[in-house]
Subunit: 109 residues, 2 copies
DNA sequence: ACTTCACTTAACTCCTTCGTTAATTAACGA
DNA sequence: TCGTTAATTAACGAAGGAGTTAAGTGAAGT
């Protein structure tokens, strides 16, 4: 489980971490600010942030005693890129396009 | 961790399972066929398939003693839908669009 | 200097996941 | 019916989350 995609997907597999990302979409926030909506301890949040950072989903900076987190969505691009490979299996437009291309190919023969 | 997205993301967090999905993109396959490229036991594969099925990423059918798996990509749509919320944080076009919309809004005032 | 604030690290528990081998089920073929 | 093939279930162990409380770090405020 040492590959990037696995790290990204398992970071996203936790609802608390997804909620943290959602919060960060509204702007940077400190650890205590991020912890506020949740009923779990600060150390637990601290570790969630570590996981998100390891996945590249956030970056962190410190000023004085505050460590503020910032959303870094680039890994989501990687993840979606992987999923795109399967788009034709779910997307109606793609399915139609696929059928269209198939028809063209048959016309070729 | 009982929500759909978590189940989907953690199903995708395993490289073996992603490889299985990749294989299934080429067509249905039986358990032994799916197991073939991997250096792990059949029971292990069997459980991976169970996880994928629980996430809705595959469906299974049986004929005689063979259980064949089929890719069901719909959950990937859900997962990408969630990620799309963050697209403006990574996609250049979205960033430009965003800036454009901001400019329009400023013109309104 | 001492305290307080913001956060992390350590040590521990509980539960789940991923793998194993051995046993079981279920269907087919002779 | 008996053996073979395909796959699952059972029972187990190692490793890894995710949570806890308690202790430690480091900068700021007084």
């Amino acid at each position: 489980m040492t590959d990037r995609l696995s790290v990204i997907f398992s970071a996203l597999a936790d609802p608390t971490r997804r909620a943290i990302l959602a919060r960060l979409a509204e702007g940077e926030a400190t650890v205590t600010e991020l912890a506020e909506p949740f009923d779990i301890s600060l150390p637990a949040i601290s570790r969630h942030l570590k996981v998100l950072e390891a996945a590249g989903l956030i970056s962190r900076s410190r000023s004085a005693q505050w460590r503020s987190s910032r959303l870094e969505a680039a890994p989501l691009r990687e993840a979606t890129a992987w999923m795109e490979r399967y788009r034709r299996f779910w997307d109606d437009n793609f399915t139609r396009l696929d059928a269209h291309l198939k028809r063209l190919q048959e016309d070729d023969s």
